[in-house]
Amino acid sequence: MSGEPVLQARDLRVYYGTPGKPVRAVDGVTLDIGESEVVGLVGESGCGKSTLGRGILGLLPEGARADGEVIYGGRNLVTLSPRELRRLRGPDLGLVFQEPMTRLNPLLRISDHFHETLKQHEANLSDDEIRRRSLETLGRMGIPPTRFNQYPHEFSGGMRQRIMIALALVLRPKLLVADEPTTSLDVIVEGQILALLADLKRNFGTALLLITHNLGIVAEACDRMAVMYAGKIVEEGPVREVFADPAHPYTRELLRSTISLETTELHSIPGAPPNLIDPPPGCRFHPRCPDAMRVCAQLVPIEQRLDGGRRVQCWLHGPERLIPADGEQPLEREAIGVADEA
């Protein structure tokens, strides 16, 4: 980790209320993000990674609640008043969304969006200063000043995403959360946006939490990566090490299912991600895990620290002393079948 952490999540939980039991979208996540660091958060759809990203900024939908700690600047964001939290959003914590097409108010010019955002947080700014700063940030994102007074519908999806990023960066936040920022864009635009995000450190000194399901992006752009499964971070560490030697079977399977030039046959992880209202007991991955042991179905794995600043939650890495007798026996096949059925 480079430098002091900007933001630390400690045992963060975010649940969604439903008519029945709550959905445990984020269930006990601990994660540090260092200054100017780029952290990739990967996982299948519905594993809670978007909820985690928004939970950090306290942007939760109706019916959702958070518990635990998100420490930023010595304060716990989870217990902060909505007003104080709002003041932090923008100048300290930024968010870029997946779908850029609908994120700009269609009735406001691009200039209005910048004006509103800057005025909100720096009320004393003159109009000239607002214009200068907006144009500078937009310029870095490749938007020419001539288009400053245009309306959102006059821009393409890629352009709008650049505008959204500029809108987040114009306040120079310490941390930017980018939630699948390129998923809805085509490949060439995706590359351009990623290049911009990867340069954040150099240009803006901003740390980045990049949420994606695309491992290629992580390999290219990130310093560290966290792998999320069913609301938990199952493995976390420097990108190179994790790619070279995945410690968790889920990470391994996830890496195997990506397509590269060396791919000879398509690989997929059997089964579907578990339902987060009633997750499987023990390790949540055990019904789909090829290496599952008896203990995996019984006890929740304990986080283990490995060499090179890595963390993993998997009984394969111990601790040995907590595994019951013959807990290391492979889990019976039919057990997998039943769990799979459910």
């Binding site: 709002r86 994120r103 009735l107």
Partner: protein
């Protein structure tokens, strides 16, 4: 750039008016002329000798072939000639000028009341969804909408006119005012201001309050419903969440993003509701004996005056089309997306 695209839009929109007007005029013609029965006999109360009917038929052109009548009818309207009534031989242009002005006065103030009351309650109900404010706002909208203008008018007359004696319950002004006020625009409210005749203005305003409030409240019910739903829908829009993610204050998110965007579609609805308002005006004018064009329509309906009814319906049709065009223009001006 924006200017030319706006102009192109306006021209296209205007071109669409022609078929719409033509269809409405044709429908009116078909209904009024092709329908069974002899309209002139009907207007004169039936059992009138042929010798009386024939000259009137000839004057109105009813003795010509149907297609020729249709052609004449369209040509007359194109020249701005909407015909003359059968029963009292009054040119429609005069009805438009005199009674139209009264209707304009009534509908303008009614619309004003409807917009202010309806939009305010709708915004509050939508913003504070599922609170008692919302429940109250919605129930207000529903009950007010469920009240026919003539019943609300009747209640208003009973309470404010008869029991409390605060306000007059019929006519556009007291006879004295009507006799003394000089005519400039036929809109008494404007004429009173024109002359600086404050006594007359007070009298006209007093006469206006009950009818305009009756018609306005009923129209407000529709607005409450629509504005509320629009606010709820807009509050869920992605750019609202994005604005919150930039730390924009909630007040501002609600006022300058949610409310503004929620009100854009309401412009269209206001226009569409002019139709509803005109329908309501017919009823309100009848209830309050307001000398508007709807009041005249009812009189000609009672007298079975086909020419009078047809002329007034044609005028209503043209007003509806004109308003829909104006509404579209306003929309194009407010919402940049429409111009493209």
């Amino acid at each position: 750039m924006t200017g030319t695209s706006l102009r192109t839009y306006l021209i296209t929109r205007l071109a669409l008016v022609v078929p719409m007007v033509l269809i409405l005029l044709t429908l009116v013609f078909l209904l009024m002329r092709v329908a069974p029965g002899n309209p002139i006999q009907a207007a004169l109360g039936g059992h009138v000798p042929e010798s009386v009917v024939k000259p009137i038929e000839h004057r109105l052109g009813f003795d010509k072939p149907l297609l020729t009548q249709y052609g004449d009818y369209l040509w007359d309207i194109l020249r701005g000639n909407f015909g003359t009534t059968i029963t009292d031989n009054r040119p429609l242009s005069q009805i438009i000028q005199q009674n139209g002005a009264a209707t304009l006065e009534l509908t303008f103030f009614a619309m004003l009341i409807a917009i202010v009351v309806g939009v305010a309650i709708g915004l509050v109900a939508g913003r504070y969804r599922d609170t008692w404010l919302d429940v109250g706002g919605r129930m207000f909208g529903i009950v007010v909408y469920a009240t026919p203008p003539f019943f609300l008018g009747l209640l208003a007359q009973l309470v404010f006119g008869v029991w409390l004696g605060w306000l007059p319950t019929s006519d556009q002004a007291s006879p004295l005012t009507q006799a003394l006020l000089k005519t400039h625009t036929n809109i008494l409210f404007v004429d009173a201001i024109w002359d600086g005749n404050w006594g007359a203005l007070w009298d006209v305003t007093q006469h206006l309050i009950l009818p305009a409030t009756t018609l306005g409240l009923i129209t407000a019910g529709v607005f409450v419903r629509l504005v509320r739903v629009n606010v709820i829908r807009t509050m869920r829009d992605d750019y609202i969440e994005a604005a919150r993610a930039r730390g924009i204050a909630e007040r501002r998110v609600v006022f300058s993003h949610a409310f503004k965007n929620a009100l854009v579609p309401v412009i269209t609805v206001v226009g569409l509701n002019l139709a509803l308002l005109l329908g309501g005006a017919v009823l309100t004018e009848t209830t309050f004996n307001w000398p508007g064009i709807g009041h005249e329509l009812v009189l000609y309906l009672e007298n079975r005056d086909y020419a009078g009814v047809q002329g007034i319906i044609v005028v209503f049709a043209l007003v509806v089309v004109a308003v829909s065009v104006i509404v579209d223009f306003i929309n194009a001006y407010v919402d940049p997306r429409i111009r493209y």
